[in-house]
């Protein structure tokens, strides 16, 4: 116990924390009183989300031709955005589930944020595969529903795998997220002033009272969901990567894709988490809860994942060269670095591999501004990576006669920016009305540390 206690001594500033009552009030403050800067942000993101809706309407009414895609570039922004968002989702589950299993207590203060991020990222991610269809209104043909036609999905294709994976991932994350929130919803119910609020949170809390029996099942189920979500998070992005790996297109056709994509996914998710966490920390003055230790750990994780990513880039290139296949070699060693999107390739390498290397220095790891900027750079860099892989490879394939570049239209851009808008819109709503810090876990953590306190001194 004591070592563990020492281990997470600096995870919480116990001494400066108010008592449970005050803590609860502080953490639920935003749920009951909006802060002045919330509305403008909310409206701004709402406007962006509206742009998203407009772009979707155009796409569905006029046709997929309103995108920049062509033959050979059948997939470009749409699928890039899909892979990007779903990747971002991964950090959430990673932090809350994976670290839960590893008994990493520092996750406590940030896992709710991470999970919310996952859910909203997945909402975006699940929109794009439908939108990119030529006939979106038939998307359900990918699902094995009892069809009178007797024609079924083709499960040799990786797209039905995606459907299964994304659905499973979304639902499991949702259950995990909601179950974990029950005790805090109960606190919200019990500390709410107005009757309506009590009602709403009451219903959401499903009647949680902190009964020993409730905790008993909660404990088991939460751990179990964590145990399921962890392999799930690995499998989902592996499957997404199979969309490319099972083809024979040079630049897609690569067996290292699954691990490579999973790492990239967590990497990009951590980036966004930083971008969200740091402002929240300073706005709500959560320095006691989200300490330098958290920043440092995330920075270290990013350093690790970013470096692994760099290694994957190398492997990709080496594999192409080592295969001796002229098409692979051209795609990876000529077209990608020096082709039409060569600039993007180098930018992406800079952003994803070079920028995290800052985190070898502790100063950098705890410097919020630096962290936020690196987060931004990686956030963009990971989008570039997906674009370079997906669209870039398609522009230069086997027959030189079919080579053709891709130019995005305003619809492509609106869908990208709009999806970011929708994400912020949902996330701000969550911040405003939901307990975004797992209050009961904080209390438990503090209790453990206080308990451990005397032993340590002794």
């Amino acid at each position: 116990m004591s070592n563990e206690a020492i281990a997470h001594r600096d995870v919480l500033r116990v001494d400066s924390l108010p008592d449970d009552g005050k803590l609860t009030v502080q953490l639920l403050r935003s749920a009951f009183h909006s802060s002045w800067m919330w509305w403008p942000l909310f409206l701004l993101s709402g406007a962006l989300a509206l742009l998203f809706v407009v772009a979707m309407a155009v796409t569905i009414s006029r046709g997929i031709g309103s995108w920049g895609n062509n033959i050979p570039v059948g997939w470009a922004y749409g699928i890039t955005d899909f892979v990007w968002w779903i990747g971002i989702g991964h950090a959430g589950t990673f932090i809350s589930a994976f670290l839960l299993l590893l008994g990493q207590h520092w996750r406590a203060s940030i896992n709710r944020l991470a999970e919310a991020m996952t859910i909203f990222a997945l909402v975006n991610a699940s929109l794009f595969p439908v939108l990119h269809l030529g006939r979106p209104w038939f998307f359900y043909w990918l699902v094995p529903y009892p069809a009178t036609t007797g024609v079924w999905p083709n499960f040799r294709s990786s797209l039905p795998w995606d459907v299964a994976a994304v659905t499973a991932y979304f639902l499991v994350s949702l259950m995990f997220f909601y179950l974990g929130m029950l005790p805090d919803l109960a606190s919200a119910r019990d500390s709410a002033a107005s009757r309506t609020r009590k009602r709403i949170y009451g219903v959401l809390a499903l009647g949680w009272r902190g009964r020993s029996s409730e905790w008993r099942h909660f404990r088991a189920t939460y751990l179990l969901l964590g145990g399921i979500a962890t392999p799930l998070v690995i499998s989902v992005h592996s499957i997404v990567s199979l969309d490319f790996a099972i083809t024979q297109l040079p630049g897609w056709h690569s067996s290292i894709f699954p691990p490579y994509f999973v790492v990239g996914a967590i990497f990009s998710g951590l980036a966004l988490l930083l971008m969200l966490m740091l402002p929240i920390r300073s706005v709500f003055r959560l320095h006691d809860l989200i300490t330098e230790r958290h920043l440092e750990n995330i920075a270290k994780l990013m350093l690790a994942t970013g470096t692994i990513l760099g290694y994957s880039y190398l492997c990709e290139a080496f594999g192409a060269w080592y295969s001796g296949d002229q098409f692979e070699r051209f795609a990876m060693l000529v077209a990608r670095p020096f082709g039409p999107y060569g600039v993007l390739f180098w930018l992406m390498t800079l952003a994803n591999v070079a920028s995290p290397q800052l985190f070898w220095w502790k100063k950098m790891r705890v410097q919020p501004v630096v962290l936020w900027l690196v987060g931004l750079i990686v956030f963009a860099g990971m989008w570039l990576e997906r674009f370079v892989i997906i669209a870039g490879s398609l522009t230069r394939d086997f027959l030189p006669s079919s080579w053709q570049d891709f130019v995005p239209t305003w619809i492509d851009w609106s869908l990208l920016l709009g999806s970011i808008g929708l994400f912020l819109f949902l996330f701000l709503a969550f911040l405003r009305w939901m307990p975004f810090i797992p209050i009961s876990e904080i209390k438990r953590l503090r209790y453990e540390m206080v308990q451990a306190g005397p032993e340590r001194s002794a």
């Binding site: 009552g21 499960f155 299964a164 020993s212 029996s213 008993r216 969901l225």
Partner: protein, 188 residues
């Protein structure tokens, strides 16, 4: 004559300290209400393991059968097609979706199982009638000693609780405690 006694504690420590004393006094039908999951609580109450694991396992197995079954029926039995000269029964390909459905069903079973075991949603419980009880989810810790106990003696219980440093001890009546918080059945 009341069905049970309810005692409010200011701190987890004092509550946890009281529990063993009650058990020594052979009060075995104890129940606590706490804002967070206090380490050591299961031991203090001598709880059995939750059966959720088994429910999840069942769900997982069902998921495997369902997942692979659907794919097999659709592509092998229902509508066998020559797709790219690949074999009709492509087990490697079918595995992928099967894994996903397995995990989904396992998680779903666990989640729904929990709700059922806890009789959730349950928007009213008689403890709610006690004013100040709402702090059970904020910063107060409650112990309830149930009367269905063979050795149940209200005064003895309240004496022990007071001795344990309870802020207040109050008898709780109305409705059969057992049914009233059947959810606790698992604990008893």
């Amino acid at each position: 004559m009341s069905d049970s006694v309810l005692a409010e504690f200011a701190s987890a420590q004092s509550m946890m300290a009281t529990l063993p004393r009650l058990r020594e006094a052979r009060f075995s039908h104890l129940e606590t209400f706490t804002p967070f999951d206090i380490p050591g609580l299961p031991e203090a109450l001598d709880e059995r393991r939750s059966p959720i694991g088994w429910i999840a396992l069942a769900g997982g197995v069902a998921g495997v059968l369902l997942g692979y079954g659907i794919q097999w029926w659709a592509d092998v039995r229902g509508y066998p097609l020559n797709v790219g000269g690949r074999p009709v029964h492509a087990s490697p390909a079918f595995t992928v979706a099967t894994v996903e459905t397995a995990m989904l069903c396992a998680a779903g079973a666990a989640f729904i199982g929990t709700l059922i075991l806890l009789r959730f949603p349950r928007l009213w419980a008689r403890e709610d009638e006690v004013d100040g009880f709402e702090r059970a989810s904020i910063d107060r810790f409650w112990i309830e000693v149930h009367s269905i106990d063979s050795q149940y003696e209200a005064d003895k219980a309240s004496r022990l609780l007071k001795a344990g440093g309870a802020l207040r001890v109050l008898p709780l009546s109305g409705g059969s405690a057992f049914t009233a918080h059947g959810g606790a059945g698992g604990a008893i």
